[in-house]
Symmetry: C2
Subunit: 300 residues, 2 copies
Amino acid sequence: MNEYELIDQIRGKAWSHKLVSRSIGDDAAIVDTTTDQQFVVTADMLMDKVHFDVSSDPPQLIGRKCLAVNLSDCAAMAAEPMAAFISLALPRTLSDGWVGEFLRGITDLAWEYETEIAGGDTNVWNGPLVVNITLLGQVSRGKAVLRQGAKPGDRIFVTGPLGGSRGSKQFTFVPRVKEALELNRQFQPTAMVDLSDGLATDLRHLCRASGCGAVIEADAIPISSAVESKDPLRSAMTDGEDFELCFCLPPGRADALKKRSQILSCAVYDIGEITAGDKLVLRDLEGHTRPLDWYGYVHG
Amino acid sequence: MNEYELIDQIRGKAWSHKLVSRSIGDDAAIVDTTTDQQFVVTADMLMDKVHFDVSSDPPQLIGRKCLAVNLSDCAAMAAEPMAAFISLALPRTLSDGWVGEFLRGITDLAWEYETEIAGGDTNVWNGPLVVNITLLGQVSRGKAVLRQGAKPGDRIFVTGPLGGSRGSKQFTFVPRVKEALELNRQFQPTAMVDLSDGLATDLRHLCRASGCGAVIEADAIPISSAVESKDPLRSAMTDGEDFELCFCLPPGRADALKKRSQILSCAVYDIGEITAGDKLVLRDLEGHTRPLDWYGYVHG
Protein backbone atom coordinates (compact mmCIF):
# COMPACT_ATOMS: atom_id res chain seq x y z
CA MET A 1 0.00 0.00 0.00
CA ASN A 2 1.63 3.28 -1.06
CA GLU A 3 1.00 6.66 0.56
CA TYR A 4 -1.80 7.57 -1.84
CA GLU A 5 -3.68 4.29 -1.43
CA LEU A 6 -3.36 4.67 2.31
CA ILE A 7 -4.74 8.21 2.23
CA ASP A 8 -7.59 7.07 -0.01
CA GLN A 9 -8.42 4.34 2.50
CA ILE A 10 -8.71 6.97 5.21
CA ARG A 11 -10.62 9.45 3.08
CA GLY A 12 -13.13 6.89 1.84
CA LYS A 13 -14.35 6.12 5.33
CA ALA A 14 -14.15 9.43 7.07
CA TRP A 15 -16.80 11.51 8.77
CA SER A 16 -17.08 15.01 7.29
CA HIS A 17 -17.34 17.91 9.74
CA LYS A 18 -19.19 21.06 8.68
CA LEU A 19 -16.47 23.38 9.98
CA VAL A 20 -13.67 21.63 8.07
CA SER A 21 -13.76 23.38 4.71
CA ARG A 22 -10.58 21.84 3.23
CA SER A 23 -9.40 18.46 4.32
CA ILE A 24 -6.86 15.88 3.11
CA GLY A 25 -5.19 16.81 -0.19
CA ASP A 26 -3.55 20.20 0.24
CA ASP A 27 -0.55 21.51 2.18
CA ALA A 28 -2.83 22.01 5.17
CA ALA A 29 -6.46 21.61 6.18
CA ILE A 30 -8.68 24.68 6.57
CA VAL A 31 -11.04 24.95 9.52
CA ASP A 32 -13.80 27.54 9.78
CA THR A 33 -14.40 29.55 12.89
CA THR A 34 -17.63 30.87 14.32
CA THR A 35 -18.13 33.60 16.86
CA ASP A 36 -18.51 32.53 20.50
CA GLN A 37 -16.38 29.49 19.85
CA GLN A 38 -12.95 28.40 21.02
CA PHE A 39 -10.84 25.54 19.77
CA VAL A 40 -9.06 23.01 21.92
CA VAL A 41 -6.02 21.16 20.59
CA THR A 42 -4.46 18.04 22.07
CA ALA A 43 -1.79 15.66 20.79
CA ASP A 44 -0.75 12.13 21.78
CA MET A 45 2.09 10.03 20.40
CA LEU A 46 1.83 6.25 20.88
CA MET A 47 4.68 3.85 20.20
CA ASP A 48 5.08 0.12 19.72
CA LYS A 49 6.13 -1.75 22.91
CA VAL A 50 5.24 1.28 25.01
CA HIS A 51 1.51 1.87 24.46
CA PHE A 52 0.67 -1.26 22.48
CA ASP A 53 2.40 -4.32 21.02
CA VAL A 54 2.22 -4.78 17.26
CA SER A 55 3.28 -8.42 17.60
CA SER A 56 0.29 -9.40 19.75
CA ASP A 57 -2.43 -6.72 19.96
CA PRO A 58 -5.18 -6.63 17.29
CA PRO A 59 -4.46 -3.85 14.74
CA GLN A 60 -7.98 -2.49 14.90
CA LEU A 61 -7.73 -2.04 18.68
CA ILE A 62 -4.34 -0.35 18.36
CA GLY A 63 -5.82 2.14 15.87
CA ARG A 64 -8.84 2.65 18.09
CA LYS A 65 -6.67 3.38 21.13
CA CYS A 66 -4.55 5.95 19.27
CA LEU A 67 -7.64 8.09 18.64
CA ALA A 68 -9.44 7.22 21.88
CA VAL A 69 -6.72 8.68 24.13
CA ASN A 70 -7.08 12.00 22.28
CA LEU A 71 -10.87 11.93 22.54
CA SER A 72 -10.42 11.41 26.29
CA ASP A 73 -8.26 14.57 26.51
CA CYS A 74 -10.90 16.45 24.55
CA ALA A 75 -13.56 15.18 26.97
CA ALA A 76 -11.46 16.38 29.90
CA MET A 77 -11.88 19.95 28.56
CA ALA A 78 -15.65 19.35 28.02
CA ALA A 79 -15.06 20.04 24.33
CA GLU A 80 -16.66 18.48 21.27
CA PRO A 81 -14.19 16.74 18.90
CA MET A 82 -14.08 18.06 15.32
CA ALA A 83 -11.03 16.96 13.36
CA ALA A 84 -8.09 14.59 13.76
CA PHE A 85 -4.64 14.83 12.13
CA ILE A 86 -2.91 11.48 11.93
CA SER A 87 0.85 11.09 11.49
CA LEU A 88 2.25 7.61 10.95
CA ALA A 89 5.68 6.02 10.92
CA LEU A 90 4.78 2.59 9.57
CA PRO A 91 7.25 -0.30 9.68
CA ARG A 92 7.98 -1.62 6.21
CA THR A 93 7.19 -5.11 7.51
CA LEU A 94 3.49 -4.47 8.21
CA SER A 95 1.16 -6.06 5.68
CA ASP A 96 -1.46 -4.07 3.80
CA GLY A 97 -4.08 -6.10 5.62
CA TRP A 98 -2.65 -5.12 9.00
CA VAL A 99 -2.51 -1.45 8.07
CA GLY A 100 -6.07 -1.58 6.71
CA GLU A 101 -7.40 -3.03 9.97
CA PHE A 102 -5.42 -0.49 11.98
CA LEU A 103 -6.89 2.38 9.94
CA ARG A 104 -10.36 0.90 10.33
CA GLY A 105 -9.91 1.06 14.10
CA ILE A 106 -9.24 4.78 13.78
CA THR A 107 -11.91 5.62 11.22
CA ASP A 108 -14.68 3.62 12.91
CA LEU A 109 -14.13 5.45 16.19
CA ALA A 110 -13.82 8.79 14.34
CA TRP A 111 -17.18 8.13 12.72
CA GLU A 112 -18.75 7.26 16.06
CA TYR A 113 -17.49 10.54 17.54
CA GLU A 114 -18.34 12.59 14.42
CA THR A 115 -14.70 13.52 13.95
CA GLU A 116 -13.22 14.24 10.53
CA ILE A 117 -9.82 12.80 9.60
CA ALA A 118 -8.68 16.11 8.15
CA GLY A 119 -5.00 15.53 7.46
CA GLY A 120 -1.72 14.16 8.69
CA ASP A 121 1.49 12.67 7.36
CA THR A 122 2.30 9.11 6.32
CA ASN A 123 5.78 7.61 6.34
CA VAL A 124 7.23 4.14 5.93
CA TRP A 125 10.50 3.20 7.62
CA ASN A 126 12.60 0.42 9.14
CA GLY A 127 11.72 1.41 12.72
CA PRO A 128 8.78 0.43 14.94
CA LEU A 129 5.21 1.75 14.59
CA VAL A 130 4.76 5.30 15.87
CA VAL A 131 1.41 7.08 15.69
CA ASN A 132 0.73 10.70 16.53
CA ILE A 133 -2.80 12.06 16.49
CA THR A 134 -3.53 15.73 17.03
CA LEU A 135 -7.18 16.39 17.78
CA LEU A 136 -9.01 19.68 17.28
CA GLY A 137 -12.21 20.22 19.25
CA GLN A 138 -14.57 23.09 19.90
CA VAL A 139 -16.13 24.57 22.99
CA SER A 140 -18.36 27.58 23.61
CA ARG A 141 -16.26 30.58 24.57
CA GLY A 142 -15.25 30.42 28.22
CA LYS A 143 -16.98 27.07 28.84
CA ALA A 144 -13.94 24.75 28.73
CA VAL A 145 -13.33 22.96 32.03
CA LEU A 146 -9.69 23.31 33.09
CA ARG A 147 -7.55 21.57 35.66
CA GLN A 148 -7.58 24.78 37.62
CA GLY A 149 -10.75 26.02 39.29
CA ALA A 150 -11.38 23.52 42.09
CA LYS A 151 -12.14 25.12 45.48
CA PRO A 152 -11.91 23.80 49.07
CA GLY A 153 -15.15 22.03 49.91
CA ASP A 154 -15.73 20.76 46.35
CA ARG A 155 -16.54 17.07 46.11
CA ILE A 156 -14.29 14.94 43.89
CA PHE A 157 -15.83 12.41 41.49
CA VAL A 158 -14.61 9.75 39.09
CA THR A 159 -16.69 8.23 36.28
CA GLY A 160 -15.81 4.56 36.60
CA PRO A 161 -13.89 1.77 38.36
CA LEU A 162 -10.12 2.25 38.36
CA GLY A 163 -7.06 0.02 37.95
CA GLY A 164 -6.09 -3.08 36.00
CA SER A 165 -6.74 -1.37 32.69
CA ARG A 166 -3.55 -2.64 31.08
CA GLY A 167 -4.90 -6.18 31.20
CA SER A 168 -8.41 -5.22 30.15
CA LYS A 169 -9.95 -2.02 28.86
CA GLN A 170 -6.83 -0.10 27.74
CA PHE A 171 -7.94 -0.75 24.15
CA THR A 172 -11.70 -0.66 24.54
CA PHE A 173 -12.42 2.14 27.03
CA VAL A 174 -15.17 4.60 26.16
CA PRO A 175 -13.83 8.17 25.83
CA ARG A 176 -16.18 10.16 28.07
CA VAL A 177 -16.99 12.86 25.52
CA LYS A 178 -20.79 12.75 25.68
CA GLU A 179 -20.70 12.39 29.46
CA ALA A 180 -18.39 15.41 29.81
CA LEU A 181 -20.61 17.58 27.61
CA GLU A 182 -23.70 16.58 29.57
CA LEU A 183 -21.95 17.06 32.92
CA ASN A 184 -20.78 20.51 31.88
CA ARG A 185 -24.20 21.54 30.58
CA GLN A 186 -26.02 20.46 33.73
CA PHE A 187 -23.52 20.79 36.57
CA GLN A 188 -20.53 22.91 35.45
CA PRO A 189 -17.59 21.10 37.07
CA THR A 190 -15.11 23.53 38.63
CA ALA A 191 -12.14 21.46 37.39
CA MET A 192 -11.62 18.26 35.41
CA VAL A 193 -8.84 15.95 34.21
CA ASP A 194 -8.81 12.59 32.46
CA LEU A 195 -7.13 9.69 34.22
CA SER A 196 -4.29 8.56 31.98
CA ASP A 197 -1.42 8.21 34.47
CA GLY A 198 -3.53 7.05 37.43
CA LEU A 199 -5.64 8.96 39.95
CA ALA A 200 -2.70 9.55 42.32
CA THR A 201 -0.81 11.46 39.61
CA ASP A 202 -3.65 13.09 37.70
CA LEU A 203 -5.48 14.36 40.79
CA ARG A 204 -2.14 15.83 41.87
CA HIS A 205 -2.03 17.76 38.56
CA LEU A 206 -5.55 19.04 39.14
CA CYS A 207 -4.78 20.08 42.74
CA ARG A 208 -1.53 21.79 41.77
CA ALA A 209 -3.24 23.72 38.96
CA SER A 210 -6.06 24.70 41.33
CA GLY A 211 -3.74 25.59 44.21
CA CYS A 212 -5.37 23.24 46.69
CA GLY A 213 -5.18 19.82 48.32
CA ALA A 214 -7.53 16.84 48.64
CA VAL A 215 -8.74 14.17 51.04
CA ILE A 216 -9.56 10.88 49.38
CA GLU A 217 -11.78 8.35 51.19
CA ALA A 218 -9.97 5.03 50.70
CA ASP A 219 -13.15 2.96 50.88
CA ALA A 220 -14.90 5.17 48.32
CA ILE A 221 -12.42 4.44 45.52
CA PRO A 222 -14.14 2.18 42.96
CA ILE A 223 -11.70 -0.66 42.32
CA SER A 224 -12.04 -2.39 38.96
CA SER A 225 -12.68 -6.13 38.97
CA ALA A 226 -9.70 -6.34 36.59
CA VAL A 227 -7.32 -5.50 39.45
CA GLU A 228 -5.41 -8.61 40.51
CA SER A 229 -2.63 -7.14 42.64
CA LYS A 230 -2.07 -7.70 46.36
CA ASP A 231 -2.65 -4.01 46.99
CA PRO A 232 -5.86 -3.31 45.04
CA LEU A 233 -6.28 0.27 46.34
CA ARG A 234 -2.81 1.19 45.22
CA SER A 235 -3.40 -0.46 41.84
CA ALA A 236 -6.61 1.49 41.38
CA MET A 237 -4.81 4.74 42.06
CA THR A 238 -1.59 4.13 40.16
CA ASP A 239 -2.07 1.61 37.34
CA GLY A 240 -3.04 4.33 34.87
CA GLU A 241 -4.74 4.14 31.48
CA ASP A 242 -8.20 4.25 33.10
CA PHE A 243 -9.34 7.10 30.84
CA GLU A 244 -12.16 7.91 33.21
CA LEU A 245 -12.79 11.53 34.13
CA CYS A 246 -12.00 13.03 37.53
CA PHE A 247 -13.95 16.23 38.23
CA CYS A 248 -14.96 18.54 41.06
CA LEU A 249 -18.33 20.02 42.04
CA PRO A 250 -19.33 22.39 44.88
CA PRO A 251 -21.43 20.59 47.54
CA GLY A 252 -24.85 21.73 46.25
CA ARG A 253 -24.23 20.68 42.68
CA ALA A 254 -22.57 17.48 43.93
CA ASP A 255 -25.78 16.54 45.74
CA ALA A 256 -27.83 17.38 42.66
CA LEU A 257 -25.62 15.12 40.53
CA LYS A 258 -25.95 12.25 42.99
CA LYS A 259 -29.75 12.54 42.84
CA ARG A 260 -29.81 12.65 39.05
CA SER A 261 -26.79 10.56 38.11
CA GLN A 262 -28.94 8.43 35.80
CA ILE A 263 -28.84 11.26 33.22
CA LEU A 264 -25.24 10.24 32.50
CA SER A 265 -24.43 7.07 30.58
CA CYS A 266 -21.66 6.27 33.08
CA ALA A 267 -21.48 5.78 36.83
CA VAL A 268 -20.19 8.53 39.10
CA TYR A 269 -18.37 7.91 42.37
CA ASP A 270 -17.89 10.55 45.06
CA ILE A 271 -14.37 9.80 46.32
CA GLY A 272 -13.42 12.75 48.48
CA GLU A 273 -13.10 16.47 48.97
CA ILE A 274 -10.92 19.35 47.87
CA THR A 275 -9.12 21.01 50.79
CA ALA A 276 -7.17 24.19 51.47
CA GLY A 277 -3.40 23.82 51.41
CA ASP A 278 -1.53 21.57 49.03
CA LYS A 279 -1.59 18.14 50.70
CA LEU A 280 -3.13 15.02 49.17
CA VAL A 281 -4.16 12.55 51.86
CA LEU A 282 -5.89 9.20 52.00
CA ARG A 283 -8.38 8.61 54.83
CA ASP A 284 -9.50 5.15 55.96
CA LEU A 285 -12.82 4.08 57.50
CA GLU A 286 -11.51 4.73 61.01
CA GLY A 287 -10.67 8.30 60.06
CA HIS A 288 -6.90 7.74 60.05
CA THR A 289 -5.15 9.72 57.33
CA ARG A 290 -1.82 9.29 55.62
CA PRO A 291 -0.10 11.21 52.83
CA LEU A 292 -1.04 10.07 49.34
CA ASP A 293 2.53 9.67 48.18
CA TRP A 294 1.98 7.10 45.44
CA TYR A 295 2.81 8.07 41.93
CA GLY A 296 1.05 6.79 38.86
CA TYR A 297 2.44 4.90 35.94
CA VAL A 298 5.12 6.61 33.91
CA HIS A 299 5.60 5.18 30.43
CA GLY A 300 9.05 4.06 29.36
CA MET B 1 15.82 15.27 32.01
CA ASN B 2 12.32 14.10 32.99
CA GLU B 3 9.12 15.06 31.20
CA TYR B 4 8.46 18.04 33.46
CA GLU B 5 11.96 19.49 33.11
CA LEU B 6 11.69 19.06 29.37
CA ILE B 7 8.33 20.85 29.23
CA ASP B 8 9.73 23.64 31.41
CA GLN B 9 12.63 24.04 28.98
CA ILE B 10 10.18 24.53 26.14
CA ARG B 11 7.86 26.80 28.08
CA GLY B 12 10.62 29.03 29.34
CA LYS B 13 11.69 30.01 25.86
CA ALA B 14 8.45 30.12 23.97
CA TRP B 15 6.76 32.93 22.08
CA SER B 16 3.27 33.69 23.39
CA HIS B 17 0.52 34.18 20.81
CA LYS B 18 -2.41 36.43 21.68
CA LEU B 19 -5.00 33.94 20.37
CA VAL B 20 -3.67 31.05 22.46
CA SER B 21 -5.53 31.50 25.72
CA ARG B 22 -4.45 28.23 27.41
CA SER B 23 -1.18 26.60 26.53
CA ILE B 24 1.01 23.83 27.94
CA GLY B 25 -0.24 22.44 31.26
CA ASP B 26 -3.79 21.20 30.75
CA ASP B 27 -5.37 18.28 28.87
CA ALA B 28 -5.47 20.46 25.76
CA ALA B 29 -4.61 23.97 24.63
CA ILE B 30 -7.37 26.53 24.03
CA VAL B 31 -7.24 28.78 20.97
CA ASP B 32 -9.46 31.81 20.49
CA THR B 33 -11.25 32.50 17.28
CA THR B 34 -12.13 35.81 15.68
CA THR B 35 -14.69 36.48 13.00
CA ASP B 36 -13.43 36.59 9.40
CA GLN B 37 -10.69 34.14 10.25
CA GLN B 38 -9.98 30.57 9.27
CA PHE B 39 -7.45 28.19 10.72
CA VAL B 40 -5.07 26.03 8.76
CA VAL B 41 -3.65 22.86 10.30
CA THR B 42 -0.68 20.88 9.02
CA ALA B 43 1.30 17.99 10.49
CA ASP B 44 4.72 16.50 9.71
CA MET B 45 6.40 13.51 11.30
CA LEU B 46 10.20 13.29 10.98
CA MET B 47 12.21 10.20 11.86
CA ASP B 48 15.86 9.38 12.52
CA LYS B 49 17.71 7.97 9.49
CA VAL B 50 14.88 9.14 7.20
CA HIS B 51 14.72 12.93 7.57
CA PHE B 52 17.86 13.46 9.65
CA ASP B 53 20.62 11.46 11.31
CA VAL B 54 20.96 11.74 15.08
CA SER B 55 24.45 10.25 14.95
CA SER B 56 25.87 13.00 12.74
CA ASP B 57 23.54 16.01 12.29
CA PRO B 58 23.70 18.85 14.83
CA PRO B 59 20.75 18.59 17.27
CA GLN B 60 19.84 22.25 16.93
CA LEU B 61 19.49 21.88 13.15
CA ILE B 62 17.40 18.72 13.53
CA GLY B 63 15.02 20.60 15.83
CA ARG B 64 14.96 23.56 13.48
CA LYS B 65 14.08 21.38 10.50
CA CYS B 66 11.20 19.65 12.33
CA LEU B 67 9.44 23.00 12.75
CA ALA B 68 10.63 24.54 9.47
CA VAL B 69 8.94 21.91 7.28
CA ASN B 70 5.63 22.74 8.96
CA LEU B 71 6.17 26.48 8.56
CA SER B 72 6.78 25.81 4.87
CA ASP B 73 3.39 24.04 4.58
CA CYS B 74 1.75 26.96 6.36
CA ALA B 75 3.44 29.35 3.89
CA ALA B 76 2.11 27.28 0.99
CA MET B 77 -1.42 28.18 2.15
CA ALA B 78 -0.42 31.87 2.59
CA ALA B 79 -1.30 31.52 6.27
CA GLU B 80 0.31 33.06 9.32
CA PRO B 81 1.65 30.51 11.84
CA MET B 82 0.20 30.71 15.37
CA ALA B 83 0.83 27.64 17.49
CA ALA B 84 2.85 24.42 17.31
CA PHE B 85 2.12 21.11 19.07
CA ILE B 86 5.24 18.99 19.49
CA SER B 87 5.16 15.24 20.09
CA LEU B 88 8.42 13.48 20.84
CA ALA B 89 9.58 9.88 21.06
CA LEU B 90 13.04 10.44 22.54
CA PRO B 91 15.62 7.63 22.65
CA ARG B 92 16.71 6.90 26.20
CA THR B 93 20.31 7.21 25.04
CA LEU B 94 20.15 10.91 24.15
CA SER B 95 21.91 13.15 26.65
CA ASP B 96 20.18 16.08 28.34
CA GLY B 97 22.59 18.35 26.47
CA TRP B 98 21.58 16.90 23.14
CA VAL B 99 17.87 17.25 23.91
CA GLY B 100 18.38 20.81 25.14
CA GLU B 101 20.11 21.81 21.89
CA PHE B 102 17.42 20.07 19.86
CA LEU B 103 14.68 21.96 21.71
CA ARG B 104 16.59 25.21 21.24
CA GLY B 105 16.50 24.60 17.50
CA ILE B 106 12.72 24.40 17.68
CA THR B 107 12.12 27.26 20.10
CA ASP B 108 14.51 29.70 18.39
CA LEU B 109 12.75 29.23 15.05
CA ALA B 110 9.32 29.40 16.75
CA TRP B 111 10.32 32.72 18.27
CA GLU B 112 11.49 34.04 14.91
CA TYR B 113 8.14 33.11 13.34
CA GLU B 114 6.10 34.34 16.33
CA THR B 115 4.72 30.85 16.91
CA GLU B 116 3.70 29.63 20.35
CA ILE B 117 4.67 26.13 21.49
CA ALA B 118 1.21 25.44 22.83
CA GLY B 119 1.30 21.76 23.66
CA GLY B 120 2.32 18.27 22.65
CA ASP B 121 3.35 14.99 24.17
CA THR B 122 6.74 13.80 25.40
CA ASN B 123 7.81 10.16 25.58
CA VAL B 124 11.07 8.35 26.20
CA TRP B 125 11.67 4.90 24.68
CA ASN B 126 14.23 2.43 23.37
CA GLY B 127 13.51 3.26 19.72
CA PRO B 128 14.92 5.97 17.43
CA LEU B 129 14.03 9.68 17.58
CA VAL B 130 10.61 10.50 16.13
CA VAL B 131 9.24 14.04 16.10
CA ASN B 132 5.76 15.11 15.07
CA ILE B 133 4.83 18.76 14.91
CA THR B 134 1.29 19.90 14.19
CA LEU B 135 1.11 23.58 13.26
CA LEU B 136 -1.94 25.80 13.54
CA GLY B 137 -2.03 28.94 11.42
CA GLN B 138 -4.57 31.61 10.56
CA VAL B 139 -5.71 33.20 7.35
CA SER B 140 -8.42 35.74 6.52
CA ARG B 141 -11.61 33.96 5.50
CA GLY B 142 -11.43 32.78 1.89
CA LYS B 143 -7.87 34.06 1.38
CA ALA B 144 -5.94 30.79 1.70
CA VAL B 145 -4.12 29.83 -1.50
CA LEU B 146 -4.86 26.22 -2.41
CA ARG B 147 -3.29 23.77 -4.82
CA GLN B 148 -6.40 24.09 -6.91
CA GLY B 149 -7.19 27.32 -8.77
CA ALA B 150 -4.52 27.52 -11.49
CA LYS B 151 -5.90 28.32 -14.97
CA PRO B 152 -4.47 27.75 -18.47
CA GLY B 153 -2.30 30.72 -19.37
CA ASP B 154 -1.12 31.29 -15.78
CA ARG B 155 2.65 31.67 -15.43
CA ILE B 156 4.40 29.30 -13.02
CA PHE B 157 7.01 30.63 -10.57
CA VAL B 158 9.41 29.19 -8.00
CA THR B 159 11.05 31.19 -5.22
CA GLY B 160 14.61 29.89 -5.38
CA PRO B 161 17.20 27.55 -6.91
CA LEU B 162 16.28 23.88 -6.78
CA GLY B 163 18.11 20.60 -6.16
CA GLY B 164 20.99 19.35 -4.04
CA SER B 165 19.23 20.34 -0.82
CA ARG B 166 20.05 17.11 0.96
CA GLY B 167 23.72 18.03 0.94
CA SER B 168 23.16 21.66 1.81
CA LYS B 169 20.13 23.63 2.89
CA GLN B 170 17.80 20.82 4.06
CA PHE B 171 18.46 22.00 7.63
CA THR B 172 18.82 25.72 7.08
CA PHE B 173 16.24 26.67 4.45
CA VAL B 174 14.09 29.72 5.09
CA PRO B 175 10.38 28.83 5.33
CA ARG B 176 8.77 31.30 2.91
CA VAL B 177 6.10 32.54 5.30
CA LYS B 178 6.68 36.29 4.99
CA GLU B 179 7.16 35.98 1.23
CA ALA B 180 3.90 34.04 0.85
CA LEU B 181 1.94 36.59 2.88
CA GLU B 182 3.39 39.46 0.83
CA LEU B 183 2.81 37.63 -2.46
CA ASN B 184 -0.79 36.94 -1.52
CA ARG B 185 -1.44 40.51 -0.40
CA GLN B 186 -0.03 42.04 -3.58
CA PHE B 187 -0.55 39.48 -6.34
CA GLN B 188 -3.07 36.80 -5.17
CA PRO B 189 -1.55 33.60 -6.60
CA THR B 190 -4.21 31.36 -8.16
CA ALA B 191 -2.56 28.22 -6.74
CA MET B 192 0.47 27.43 -4.59
CA VAL B 193 2.38 24.44 -3.19
CA ASP B 194 5.64 24.08 -1.30
CA LEU B 195 8.38 21.98 -2.85
CA SER B 196 9.06 19.14 -0.45
CA ASP B 197 9.17 16.14 -2.80
CA GLY B 198 10.68 17.96 -5.79
CA LEU B 199 9.14 20.18 -8.48
CA ALA B 200 8.27 17.22 -10.76
CA THR B 201 6.07 15.70 -8.06
CA ASP B 202 4.73 18.79 -6.32
CA LEU B 203 3.80 20.61 -9.56
CA ARG B 204 1.97 17.44 -10.55
CA HIS B 205 -0.07 17.69 -7.33
CA LEU B 206 -0.90 21.32 -8.11
CA CYS B 207 -1.90 20.52 -11.70
CA ARG B 208 -4.01 17.55 -10.68
CA ALA B 209 -5.83 19.60 -8.03
CA SER B 210 -6.37 22.41 -10.56
CA GLY B 211 -7.42 20.08 -13.37
CA CYS B 212 -4.80 21.32 -15.82
CA GLY B 213 -1.37 20.64 -17.29
CA ALA B 214 1.89 22.60 -17.57
CA VAL B 215 4.76 23.36 -19.91
CA ILE B 216 8.08 23.88 -18.14
CA GLU B 217 10.92 25.69 -19.92
CA ALA B 218 13.96 23.51 -19.22
CA ASP B 219 16.42 26.41 -19.44
CA ALA B 220 14.35 28.53 -17.04
CA ILE B 221 14.66 26.11 -14.11
CA PRO B 222 17.01 27.66 -11.55
CA ILE B 223 19.50 24.92 -10.66
CA SER B 224 21.12 25.21 -7.26
CA SER B 225 24.91 25.39 -7.12
CA ALA B 226 24.67 22.52 -4.62
CA VAL B 227 23.65 20.12 -7.41
CA GLU B 228 26.56 17.81 -8.24
CA SER B 229 24.86 15.14 -10.34
CA LYS B 230 25.48 14.36 -14.00
CA ASP B 231 21.90 15.33 -14.83
CA PRO B 232 21.52 18.68 -13.05
CA LEU B 233 18.08 19.48 -14.52
CA ARG B 234 16.70 16.20 -13.29
CA SER B 235 18.28 16.73 -9.88
CA ALA B 236 16.72 20.18 -9.64
CA MET B 237 13.29 18.75 -10.37
CA THR B 238 13.45 15.56 -8.32
CA ASP B 239 15.90 15.86 -5.40
CA GLY B 240 13.22 17.26 -3.10
CA GLU B 241 13.48 19.09 0.24
CA ASP B 242 13.87 22.46 -1.54
CA PHE B 243 11.09 24.03 0.56
CA GLU B 244 10.73 26.82 -1.97
CA LEU B 245 7.24 27.83 -3.08
CA CYS B 246 5.80 27.08 -6.50
CA PHE B 247 2.87 29.35 -7.41
CA CYS B 248 0.80 30.52 -10.39
CA LEU B 249 -0.22 34.00 -11.56
CA PRO B 250 -2.35 35.14 -14.50
CA PRO B 251 -0.18 36.89 -17.19
CA GLY B 252 -0.98 40.47 -16.09
CA ARG B 253 -0.14 39.89 -12.44
CA ALA B 254 2.87 37.80 -13.49
CA ASP B 255 4.29 40.80 -15.39
CA ALA B 256 3.58 43.07 -12.43
CA LEU B 257 5.47 40.72 -10.11
CA LYS B 258 8.46 40.58 -12.45
CA LYS B 259 8.63 44.39 -12.47
CA ARG B 260 8.38 44.62 -8.71
CA SER B 261 10.05 41.43 -7.55
CA GLN B 262 12.34 43.40 -5.24
CA ILE B 263 9.42 43.75 -2.79
CA LEU B 264 9.96 40.10 -1.89
CA SER B 265 12.91 39.00 0.20
CA CYS B 266 13.47 36.06 -2.14
CA ALA B 267 14.10 35.65 -5.87
CA VAL B 268 11.27 34.58 -8.19
CA TYR B 269 11.81 32.57 -11.37
CA ASP B 270 9.23 32.29 -14.14
CA ILE B 271 9.61 28.65 -15.24
CA GLY B 272 6.64 27.96 -17.49
CA GLU B 273 2.94 28.07 -18.11
CA ILE B 274 -0.24 26.29 -17.03
CA THR B 275 -1.98 24.56 -19.97
CA ALA B 276 -5.34 22.99 -20.70
CA GLY B 277 -5.45 19.21 -20.47
CA ASP B 278 -3.52 17.20 -17.93
CA LYS B 279 -0.04 16.75 -19.43
CA LEU B 280 3.17 17.98 -17.84
CA VAL B 281 5.85 18.58 -20.47
CA LEU B 282 9.38 19.90 -20.53
CA ARG B 283 10.38 22.19 -23.43
CA ASP B 284 14.00 22.82 -24.45
CA LEU B 285 15.51 25.91 -26.09
CA GLU B 286 14.84 24.56 -29.58
CA GLY B 287 11.16 24.17 -28.76
CA HIS B 288 11.22 20.37 -28.56
CA THR B 289 8.96 18.99 -25.85
CA ARG B 290 8.93 15.72 -23.99
CA PRO B 291 6.72 14.36 -21.21
CA LEU B 292 7.83 15.32 -17.73
CA ASP B 293 7.78 11.78 -16.37
CA TRP B 294 10.27 12.14 -13.56
CA TYR B 295 9.07 11.59 -10.06
CA GLY B 296 10.43 13.32 -7.02
CA TYR B 297 12.03 11.85 -3.97
CA VAL B 298 9.93 9.49 -1.89
CA HIS B 299 11.17 9.02 1.66
CA GLY B 300 11.84 5.53 2.89
